[in-house]
Symmetry: C2
Subunit: 309 residues, 2 copies
């Protein structure tokens, strides 16, 4: 990130630059304080955290703006899986010494622009020096109205249908840096009566399996929608487009279970790209059938996991 | 962290272990979901984030339990500087491949034990693989009652006294891994009318300067309380104990400004270790006098800053 003539980043300079920003409207306390005191919320607080690490979630050398954008988008996607609205984000950065001020500002700007696109504000953070590739840990605060039980992974019920908000696979071709958190879809699905939801972060098959296990049910999926990037990627890898649609991570579409009539209503009201993928039945695990109705054998590894498996 | 015969960490195994924990009482949604839906809060939400990086905030090879403890304690200290109560924490871990399951569990247990010591619960997190030393980013959610303006760095007023909750210096001898977040003191000071507060994380002189600059005032400090660790450390470094008390980071005592009568009341009510260090006057910067009343020259570097200065 460092180039001749450009200054290496300094915590003091970045703080001065941040202090010149417009004051977040959600802030009830002083700007630039140790912690951000926010205005009272009507609904329930929803919290989640996610990271982007160079060399893991993005190639080393990825534009800092895209690192910031991705870190926020991944986190907001977790709020979407609760049907929550986004309110605030915090950004903890671990940065190598040789990044420039300009690169750090670009990352932060990428983060706050992405937050603002979904109605949230960057209200706090931390900057620290660390050996090795850069990383950004984002925490999001969301808000959930009402009093009913929010969607959870453990609430898929036999008789419901399984809905996915979009086609999957091949995100590695670039879409993984431009995740679209499905916040509006998540709210619409929760309001329509979705009892279980998950965001497809580690692969459709793996995340569907997590939902099935947590709920104690089986998911039967049929002819999943294949993203055109999965078709493109399959030409290079020799795998089938369907395999990419089932196993690739970082799509961040939502997988939801809800009564069939409710699913039809929410689709009729407009949820572009969404479709019913199958149904919830008694049993365990995930069964996938292709367009011809043939059962797809489960792959050795269902999706992406960190650490040893 | 890896030893012969011990298993390297896996995200799936750590998640199973976490799922076996008692359900956090603050949780209103399902456990193990993408985001944590919490019960409604009466007061205002307060958010902050802080990190512990091996090789920066703790030596590489520090016991994982102490890394987790320190990461949470640093973050809760930021809540203390608002006079808030701690409610929930989230933990984003970046871990090298060769850590063991046992080491990761020890870090997480260190974090949640520290949170529970202050009435907060670990409600969420993220585990990711990353090259280089381990790091832990913690976000804390606090709660602030009432409607008045919370303490901020920008609200020190001429005529107030400056109070510090304890002696400083020499934390490097080990206290920096066993930070005591001054949550009770922070609440007592806020209730007594402290208008400005900061936690002394990067050094008394530096953090006092931040308070002075943000408030547009001068702080006159006299004969600061010197921790016995500052005396011990001074024997090794050849600096004076006072220099260590003024410049060393990671004490995490609170520096507060409030009317003298209010400070006397809060001291009389019991705030062990706290004392009045000086006063707020018109002007700028920080002036320090030693026990003899002689002015202490400002050091070239006031305290610890990340990145180039």
């Amino acid at each position: 990130m460092s180039a001749a003539g450009e200054r290496r980043w300094s915590e003091a300079r970045i703080h001065r630059w941040l202090a010149s920003r417009e004051r977040p409207s959600l802030l009830d306390g002083s700007q630039g304080h140790d912690a951000a005191v926010l205005r009272r919320m009507q609904g329930r607080p929803v919290l989640c955290t996610d990271q982007v690490i160079e060399g893991v979630h993005a190639a080393v050398g990825t534009a800092p703006r895209l690192l910031g954008r991705k870190a926020v988008a991944r986190t907001l996607s977790d709020l979407a899986a609760c049907g929550a609205s986004a309110r605030a984000v915090l950004l903890a950065l671990r940065l190598p010494r040789d990044w420039t001020d300009a690169a750090v500002r670009a990352l932060i700007r990428g983060a706050w622009t992405e937050a603002e696109r979904f109605g949230a504000e960057l209200v706090g953070g931390d900057l620290a020096l660390g050996v090795g590739p850069a990383s950004a840990a984002v925490t999001a605060l969301g808000e959930l109205p009402g009093r009913g039980r929010p969607p959870g992974r453990d609430r898929a019920r036999p008789g419901q249908v399984v809905l996915c908000t979009g086609p999957t696979g091949g995100s590695l071709l670039g879409r993984h840096l431009r995740i679209e958190p499905r916040l509006a879809a998540g709210r619409a699905l929760r309001e329509a009566g979705a009892s279980a939801m998950i965001d497809v972060s580690d692969g459709l098959w793996l995340d569907a399996s997590r939902l099935a296990r947590a709920s104690g049910v089986r998911l039967e999926l049929s002819d999943p929608a294949i993203h055109r990037d999965a078709v493109r990627l399959a030409r290079r890898t020799g795998r089938t487009p369907l395999a990419h649609a089932l196993i690739d991570g970082e799509d961040h579409e939502l997988l939801a279970t809800l009564p069939r009539a409710a699913a039809m209503r929410v689709l009729a009201a407009g949820l572009p790209g969404a479709r019913i993928l199958g149904r919830v039945v008694r049993g365990e695990g995930v069964v996938v059938r292709d367009r011809e109705g043939d059962r797809v054998p489960a792959p050795a590894q269902l999706g992406y996991l960190h650490g040893d498996c």
